[in-house]
Symmetry: C2
Amino acid sequence: VPIAPRYELFYWSGIQGRGEFVRLAFEEAGVKYDDVARGEGGDDAVVKMMAGKGAGLRPFAPPFLRVGKLVVAQTANILQFLGPRLGLVPDDEASRLAANQHQLTIADLVVETHDTHHPLGPTFYYQDQKQEARRRAAAFMKERLSKFLLYFEAILADNKRSKGRHLVGKGLSYVDLSLFQVMEGLSYAFPRNLERVRRRVPRVQAVRDLVAARPRIAAYLASPRRIPFNERGIFRHYPELDP
Amino acid sequence: VPIAPRYELFYWSGIQGRGEFVRLAFEEAGVKYDDVARGEGGDDAVVKMMAGKGAGLRPFAPPFLRVGKLVVAQTANILQFLGPRLGLVPDDEASRLAANQHQLTIADLVVETHDTHHPLGPTFYYQDQKQEARRRAAAFMKERLSKFLLYFEAILADNKRSKGRHLVGKGLSYVDLSLFQVMEGLSYAFPRNLERVRRRVPRVQAVRDLVAARPRIAAYLASPRRIPFNERGIFRHYPELDP
């Protein structure tokens, strides 16, 4: 029996953030992982690694994963590393390239979503950029949100191998989990505006529903391991940004 | 003799943009590529592919690469695909993960640089967000620019295998080319502010100089294939943003 590797996930303890895309992959696979900053060391464990005080490659920002001596940072890079190990991506190169491509497009959507409440960047608090946030959020709602979601709707329709049910290949991949997470986050942050787009993307919604119904994901979402959405993460509910 | 694949790069014809990271890899490798939109079809060739009118996976945005039936989008994904084929990344998995990680961190810096002139997003022209751009650019200069560049300086110092001369492994990789491109872009956009940081990152500057001196890169930069920086790309020189 091969020894299972010990997976240590480093991410801020109080938010879902980008760490959640990695958590969902572990949870769906039923593979144990240590959510380091939620243990005794707290967020300091994350900070120390970023200061180059751990072995392995120094990360610029969390999330990052430590597996033995290897440290892997950047969400899409972590998921690409874990995908084959967790059985969450097909074997062939074309499918892996497609999965990574979609994950990076989801990352772009995540950045633009974050920027709705932080258009002037991470340096200022939301309270210091509320007017700018209103303009950026309105533009996002008008032009970007539907553009991204209709794109994924088209990708699903194009994927004949899964009859439109999955983004990559025939079955569930880590990209489906990430699309679920984005839909949950958008639904939390912009319930009114998302509702208007949701009916135009039935395949995307079906992926969201399919993932939510996976037994391990459902158990995870109902557990205390799932940190609730809040106003410190990527997806924040400010009613003034969701008219 | 194996037949060389035909590489078709799709990117907007009038700017360096994200396509330039891919062009530099081809140029350094001395491998022919077709810069499709700069041929007869123009930018329409890019638009058609995004509308799903070509074979292969539909891209969300350029750059994307077509190699036979395969279409690969997202800059870091393209470079990860090309790296081994062009001899621009080491063979081992840890090095490839490191290269992809660094490329994604460079991509994050590129997004933040772009947002200095477009804090309210791609929907509005620069002229419609000049005040906001000033605030965002000032915050970027104060906290973000040096944070990113000092990070890459530390990565270079940490990389004993290359004696601090390369970001990944012992020799030149596509990530060094990308760091060069970012330094060139920042130097064009923010000559005054970059000068203040440059002296604090001698290893980063040395990578920039080393890449610029590579014979094929030098020939490329002097050729009409290198599109000049301009105020339609990522790196724009607006003096009011570089006090």
